[in-house]
């Protein structure tokens, strides 16, 4: 009884803190439609800052609390809204996810930069550890009582705020219609900023309260993942209801506490189970709770755009990629080759995101976790030989990929009626569950019937890692670095071409139709179920293949190689590069696999070599770790991705072969210079990127017919509105309408003459600028 009481109180306290965190999450999601993945990171920053102020600067506790909770928390939230979140109107769900994920990663790096993770930091409970009271015989610290009391007060306070204050009612009104709120004389911007300030305050409060309860040691990662416990509680309230969120949080807290108390000692996995409990709850709740129905009325026109390449150009690009990689191979030393290979395997995983998110508009926040499944399968059934001579077999990879596809189906099947964010959360729950539970399974179990010992993720002797030997198919042996690199590139190119072909097929068009409007797609007789299931399986298979290749490139993998943070940052960089493009996947994969690691290590090298400016270079190195997050945050301004802009800029060069040939020649010279060691490899890389970036600009500057082309680039429905109505445009319109051939020669001449006349008047006040050509044809 005594044990039960102690753990019940502990569970209630834990649940109360979860509830505080989760209500902040619900608050911001409802007022701005943004699900804040950085909520836990805000809590973490708050807790670290509290530690710094309280113990670093030695400020008394009440003053430190006022500074952190009263000033820092609300200020951070308000600024986040004003600087970043406000710009996310009319963007796709994935863009919003990516921006907050970027924010989360950025805050993590930032805290590591300011507060060295190697140092131990402890936060003492309020009034000390010894300050305890006895409740029915159980010892409860004052801190726990304060935490519980605060949770109750916050719950009551929020209730009063939302129902008894006009600004609270207005906040609830903003969920329905911010425009109407404005017509009622309220300022929706101010209301949204306030809600973000409150959300951030609640996050920081949860962070400060939680640390002493969960042991007192301050850890950035575990505090950031607090958000996952909050997710589960918030989803329990369907991301809307705060009372239900509170109930969900209490259930979670109690369950975690009871697992800790009552699980038998023989259950070695009990502690892993406790850690992944919120994820399991999240998954179950997502599946059980009713979801919104399909909505067809408001087809949101998002700001994301994408060009669609033809299969022919994809084949050319794929071949070019292989050639470029083979050429670059000549410049690289062995360690570079391994790094680039790793990047290429990441790019293959990123392809699964292009298919799933870019084409079909569904979300998978745990792409790399699917790679773990294929890795495990191919480790257990597809390795031949021993020691250095051991090799993976094609058979193992094929079965691994198939199993991953099946697991993908099993994960997504119950989640199929979920859409967008909910599906994303379900995959995230699965991913975290996999890393916390399945990949931690390193102790051998005795399997009852066949009496062999078996563990899922262990290379033997309880070591929590797997050694994945390189693949050998007949004469092709990936033991050789160059062969591996070229093979990975070819795999990427073939899959990429396949994806483009798929996108151009009727299946691809059906996927995009589903992305744009599930309701319209369903009324056209598409089976959304079949489409989603098939695309999810395909995508999981691609991720599985990429994952196995990644494991081979790494040689030996630990659960950390499949962490959810890796999946999230891969998704982020792919969206930054352009989620709807195969080349976006290439760029995103290479960036997350190699790019930033290379830049950071370069700066560290420079810092150690040049002692006098050591400070500057190590600052740059630290700054470079934050850069990906900054780029990710910037995606709100350019949600189509950078590849999109790049393609657009090169589009104008299509009719300028001389500029292209010139650029190619310069690049060839650079390559030869670098090959003969006249030019350093870094110089080659820098000059090449400068050339690639500025070539379109050169093309534009040197183009005599630039204005003409710009006029022709205006979409036809806008022609004549923003630009003069020229002869060429009139001919273009006639051609687009298909009436050019119908016009008899003399009419054609008259129509041309009319065109010239209105050109002469040359202003924008013409009546019916568009009707003229059509009217001529009709009369």
């Amino acid at each position: 009884m005594h044990l039960f009481l102690t753990y019940t109180i502990f569970g209630l306290v834990l649940g109360g803190v979860y509830a505080i965190a989760a209500s902040g999450l619900v608050l911001t999601y409802n007022t701005s439609g943004i699900f804040n993945f950085a909520h836990g990171a805000e809590a973490m920053l708050g807790a670290f800052l509290y530690w710094e102020v309280r113990y670093g600067w030695g400020v008394p506790t009440p003053l430190a609390l006022i500074l952190v909770l009263g000033v820092f928390g609300p200020l951070m939230g308000g600024l986040l809204y004003l600087v970043i979140m406000r710009g996310l109107r009319n963007t796709a769900e994935v863009t919003k996810v990516v921006v907050t994920v970027a924010l989360m990663l950025g805050m993590l790096y930032l805290s590591e930069w300011f507060w060295n993770p190697q140092t131990d930091r402890t936060v003492v409970p309020f009034f000390g550890i010894t300050s305890q009271v006895k409740i029915l015989g159980a010892d409860v610290t004052t801190h726990e009582l304060i935490a519980l009391g605060t949770a109750v007060l916050i719950g009551l306070g929020l209730r009063l705020f939302f129902y008894r204050l006009r600004i609270g009612v207005a906040m609830r009104g903003a969920v329905d219609d911010p425009g109407l709120l404005e017509l009622n004389g309220h300022n929706p911007e101010r209301i949204a900023a306030l809600s973000w300030a409150m959300g951030s305050f609640l996050a920081v409060l949860a962070g400060v309260l939680l640390t002493p309860i969960s042991g007192g040691a301050l850890q950035a990662n575990s505090l950031t993942l607090l958000v996952i416990d909050a997710f589960a509680a918030a989803v329990f309230g369907r991301l809307r209801s705060i009372p239900r969120t509170y109930i969900g949080a209490l259930v979670l807290g109690l369950a975690a506490s009871y697992v800790l108390a009552y699980s038998p000692k023989t259950w070695q996995w009990a502690s892993n189970f406790r850690v992944s409990l919120p994820m399991i709850v999240l998954f179950v709740v997502l599946i059980v709770l009713p979801q919104d129905r399909l909505r067809g009325a408001s087809v949101a026109r998002t700001r994301e755009r994408a060009h669609l390449p033809s299969v022919r150009s994809a084949v050319i690009a794929g071949a070019a990629l292989v050639v470029v990689v083979v050429l670059l191979r000549q410049l690289m030393n062995d360690s570079d080759i391994t790094t680039i290979t790793l990047g290429m395997t990441f790019a293959v995983i990123a392809l699964s995101l292009t298919l799933l998110t870019g084409y079909a508009g569904e979300m998978n926040l745990a792409a790399v976790s699917f790679g773990a499944i294929a890795t495990m399968v191919s480790y257990h059934i597809g390795v031949t030989g021993h020691g250095l001579a051991s090799r993976s077999t094609l058979w193992g990879i094929v079965v691994g990929v198939i199993v991953t596809a099946v697991v993908g189906a099993v994960v997504s099947l119950p989640a199929l009626r979920l859409r967008g964010l909910y599906l994303g959360l379900a995959t995230m729950a699965f991913g975290v569950f996999l890393t916390d539970m399945v990949l931690m399974d390193s102790n051998p179990h005795r399997i009852p019937l066949i009496h062999t010992k078996f563990s899922l993720f262990s290379g033997g002797a309880g070591i929590n890692s797997l050694v994945i030997p390189p693949l050998r198919i007949g004469p092709l042996d990936l033991h050789d670095g160059t062969t591996f690199l070229v093979t990975a590139t070819v795999v990427f190119a073939v899959l990429g071409i396949g994806l483009v072909a798929l996108r151009n097929s009727s299946y691809g068009r059906r996927l995009t139709a589903m992305k744009d409007s599930p309701a319209a797609s369903a009324t056209l007789g598409q089976s959304l179920l079949r489409l989603k299931l098939s695309v999810f399986m395909l995508s999981a298979a691609v991720a599985g293949l990429g994952g196995v290749l990644m494991s081979m490139a790494l040689g030996s993998v630990t659960p950390d190689n499949f962490s959810i943070f890796l999946s999230l940052s891969l998704l982020m960089l792919t969206v930054v590069a352009g989620i709807s493009y195969v080349s976006g996947a290439l760029m995103g994969g290479l960036l997350s696999g190699v790019g930033f690691a290379l830049i950071v290590s370069t700066f560290h090298d420079l810092a150690s070599r040049h002692g006098s400016v050591h400070g500057l270079f190590s600052f740059l190195a630290s700054f470079a770790t934050v850069t990906p997050a900054l780029i990710g945050i910037g995606v709100g301004r350019n949600p189509s991705g950078s590849v999109h802009d790049f393609v657009d800029s090169y589009r104008s060069l299509r009719h300028r072969p001389r500029v292209l040939v010139g650029g190619g020649a310069v690049e060839a010279v650079l390559y030869v210079l670098s090959l003969t060691n006249v030019l350093g490899h870094w110089w080659f890389a820098i000059l090449t990127s400068v050339l690639v970036m500025f070539l379109p600009l050169v093309g534009q500057m040197s183009d005599p017919a630039r204005r003409e082309q710009e006029a022709a680039a205006v979409p036809l429905e806008l022609a004549g509105i923003d630009s003069p109505y020229s002869d060429g445009l009139r001919a273009e319109l006639d051609r687009a309408l298909g009436i050019e051939d119908l016009l008899p020669p003399e009419r054609l001449a008259r129509s041309r003459r009319n065109g010239r006349r209105s050109d002469g008047s040359g202003d924008r006040s013409m009546t019916e600028p568009l009707g003229a050509g059509v009217g001529d044809a009709g009369t």
Partner: protein, 247 residues
């Protein structure tokens, strides 16, 4: 087709100064311009009907008037003062009350909470409630019900109640009749006529001209983002058919 009338802004009855005025207003969404120079005058104390087929720019014009959409060029004047770029909530506070297309209510708030939010313009809460419940007793019966669960007519009553209670200078109504039974529509327009006769200036956009022309003092036809005709309701009615059919 009739050439655009270049009305120089003289109100039909003469005498009353314009309370709401659009002069050569261009506006649109992103790169797409919808209004290509709209001239429109709402004289003080009169009811102006804005007619025309779908896609003519009526709703966009009203969005400009209420401040939800920025003027790209031209001028928006309220009571003779240029208010280009003023935010919608500022315009609401100086007395421009706008009931948007569909239902101008918050479906997930109760009737009382909806009315409470109407006090954003500076009216006392008691006053809003007493005016609303006196004029529409049905709302009083349902004061604690979620607004979204009421019938379409009741929702529109709630939307109009805001206009009644906050005593605006200009009332802007968009497609009041949308999705409602004809009987409900005529009852609503009776209220609008009362409001207009009490001295509030009203601008109404409506696809179904017949419902609004009898109570209007003047009417304007919008086509392809321009006001192509302004005049007495009776005169405008005759030209409507040709405007709709693209004459």
């Amino acid at each position: 087709m009739t050439a655009p009338v270049t009305d120089d802004g003289r109100p039909i009855e003469g005498g009353a100064e314009p309370i709401l005025e659009l002069v050569g207003v261009r506006a649109g969404y992103g790169a797409i311009e919808v209004l290509h120079g709209v001239d429109l005058v709402v004289p003080r104390g009169s009811l102006v009907a804005l007619l025309g087929p779908n896609g003519g720019g009526k709703t966009t014009t009203l969005r400009v008037c209420s401040g939800l959409l920025r003027v790209a060029s031209g001028e928006l004047r309220v009571a003779g003062r240029t208010v280009n770029g003023a935010a919608a909530h500022d315009l609401a506070r100086v007395g421009v009350c706008s009931v948007p297309e569909g239902r101008g209510i918050f479906p997930n708030l109760t009737v009382r909470e909806n009315l409470w939010l109407a006090t954003g313009t500076g009216v006392a809460r008691d006053r809003v409630e007493s005016v609303a419940f006196d004029r529409f007793p049905r709302l009083g019966e349902r004061r604690n019900q979620l607004a979204g669960t009421m019938s379409g007519g009741e929702q529109q009553m709630l939307a109009i109640a805001r206009a009644l209670a906050t005593e605006p200078v200009v009332l802007i109504l968009d497609e009041l009749s949308m999705g409602l039974a004809p009987l409900v529509v005529s009852a609503l327009y009776e209220t609008v006529a009362e409001l207009a006769s009490s001295g509030i200036s009203v601008l109404v956009a409506e696809q179904f001209a017949k419902t609004v022309l009898p109570i209007a003092q003047s009417a304007a036809i919008m086509l392809h983002g321009r006001v192509v005709r302004v005049g007495e309701p009776a005169a405008v009615e005759e030209e409507l058919a040709s405007a709709y059919l693209g004459g």
